[in-house]
Symmetry: C2
Subunit: 344 residues, 2 copies
């Protein structure tokens, strides 16, 4: 499996690890009490300017850096937050993670990242592992039950992304709005029978999309069939193609772009050309115009969601209070090349 070569000398050397300068050393060097050094760093206004300068000079000379862990222990604030996502490799998340990290960084917070592999057990485990060392947590597209989430929320400040639980601050990307536009778009193109290739059953977004599609389809008098794709992935999309074609539909909306892409691949294997004989719409718009033809999709606002969730969390930590907040980010349809008029 691992076929890499391995070269280099194997001279083991003991780690030299500079065993940090402590506050006491600085205090001695500056001829003050430890508490003064502490204050010089945390509330310099309490000390005379000259003392602060003397301490800072000594600290600098010694290369003193306050020990984060010790500080966290006595203050109870570690300046870290956790971010847990189901699948880092799913292109929906990297922009979210990036924006979250950036926002945290602006407040000098560090981010723990956890990947649950879509597995609630793993998610629970990670929450527990993080709980002790973060001030708060952002759960993106959590696969946990409402009960578990509530239980965790009782332990530490929590913000949810794409999960709607009353009483817990949450940021929701309303793909419903975009999905409704998608159905309307298909209706106008003359499609009468469509399928929804669904995603993970414990995904809130999936429920939301399915509901929106059902409602919109009935509004436009279209028939709708649900074809399950176990995971949000290329392969499950591809595997769903049989069922899709069997349904007799002329168009499909997939849970996300990855699934849609799998469907696209599966269709072309069956020599069904898109969009000529079948129309396809994705969700989350993570592929941009990369595919050919460019995939018609529903916009995502995952980066905004990530940023918003973190700033919400930091605000909560500042106020030491939680608010029952519910932010909704609306989406819209992005029309590209995979949709066109129905044949018949």
């Amino acid at each position: 499996m691992v076929s890499g070569s391995r070269t280099g000398e194997f001279q083991d050397t003991m780690i030299k690890r500079t065993k940090g300068v402590t506050i006491s050393q600085v205090a001695d060097a500056a001829g003050v009490a430890r508490s003064s050094v502490s204050r010089a760093f945390t509330r310099p206004d309490m000390l005379s300017p000259e003392t602060v300068e003397r301490i800072m000079k000594a600290a600098e000379a010694l290369g003193y850096v306050p020990n984060h862990t010790a500080r966290a222990l006595s203050t109870g604030r570690h300046g870290n937050i956790g971010l847990i996502v189901p699948d880092i490799a799913n292109p929906f998340f990297p922009p979210l993670i990036q924006a979250a990290q950036l926002e945290a960084d602006r407040s000098d917070f560090c981010i723990f990242l956890g990947n649950t592999e879509e597995n609630p057990k793993q998610e629970d485990k990670l929450v527990g592992r993080f709980a002790g060392q973060v001030e708060g947590l952002v759960l993106a597209s959590s696969r946990l039950t409402d009960e578990r989430i509530r239980a965790h929320a009782a332990q530490l400040p929590l913000v949810l992304i794409n999960r709607d639980i009353e009483g817990i601050p949450r940021v929701l990307i309303d793909s419903g709005s975009g999905v409704r536009q998608a159905v309307e778009h298909l209706a106008k193109l003359g499609h009468r029978r469509i399928v929804y290739v669904s995603g993970p059953s414990n995904s809130w977004s999936n429920k939301q999309r399915r509901t929106a599609i059902r409602a919109a389809a009935s509004k436009f008098n279209m028939e709708i069939e649900i074809v399950p794709a176990v995971l949000a992935s290329y392969n499950s999309g591809r595997n769903a193609v049989g069922a899709i074609l069997a349904s007799g539909a002329t168009a499909a909306i997939a849970f996300d772009d990855l699934t849609a892409q799998g469907v696209l691949a599966g269709l072309s294997e069956q020599h069904v050309s898109v969009p000529v004989s079948f129309s396809l719409i994705g969700c989350d718009d993570v592929l941009g115009a990369v595919t050919y033809p460019g995939l018609t999709s529903v916009s995502n606002r995952s980066n905004e969601a990530g940023k918003l969730a973190v700033s919400l969390l930091l605000e909560m930590l500042d106020n030491r209070s939680i608010r029952d907040v519910r932010y909704v980010l609306e989406t819209h349809l992005v029309i590209r090349g995979t949709t066109t008029s129905a044949l018949d």
Copy 2:
């Protein structure tokens, strides 16, 4: 900018934050000394089985969870490692991050994730921020100078990915091997003049690829021109198209797939069809067969690199020693649809 709506009641509630059960409370409940409770959790073999059981029962009843921070302070081990990457949103990294996280998790380690936005200053800042609370660090595709990296390595255990500095453990993805195959492939197709669309100038991978291409081109008697693309991105690839066409080349190899994709888009805007009148090869193979035509590319092994780097780091932490290790992961050319015979 933020156009989301906002609803919900704003009943601020104070955070109830269960203020943890301490070791002393458990000790009292079990009628033992704090040290015994500590040992029950860390070295149960030192205690009589009955005592351990009694303590555990008391702990369970109270819902005691050892305080991570306190433990870290007294032992000096926090069970965290940091991972710093230049750009989370670059599809090269998510698999790397995911694999790293998974590997860390196997040893009950948590991962701090940092994003430098390709900015050395930001990278330095993050290393500093992390330094106090991690046992070791993985730097992926670092944009720092050798000096800075060496300086950091003196402070804490460090493993590099795609950066070759003697004395510091490193995992290298040898895109050279794949790139050589790419050049050979183009040579066999009859291309005599090619361009390399380069990436970030402080990127080790970029240097490596450029060097490999130069060497291989001269071996096959091909002319080679370097066209710079400031960042590794879609847009810089697109912007490079003018220079590419001006060079009179019939084929190009791009620093990475994103850049290649930008080039692809730019070419099609200029009505240059690929592969009919121009051949194009990417690097890192992050797009799979997504584009149409599928992009010929050089395989990446980023997930293996992430996993390897973390396991190397954990091993170092266990042994408390560093080894001058240099792992090399070889790559190969993946031929798809963007390359064909030269016209002339």
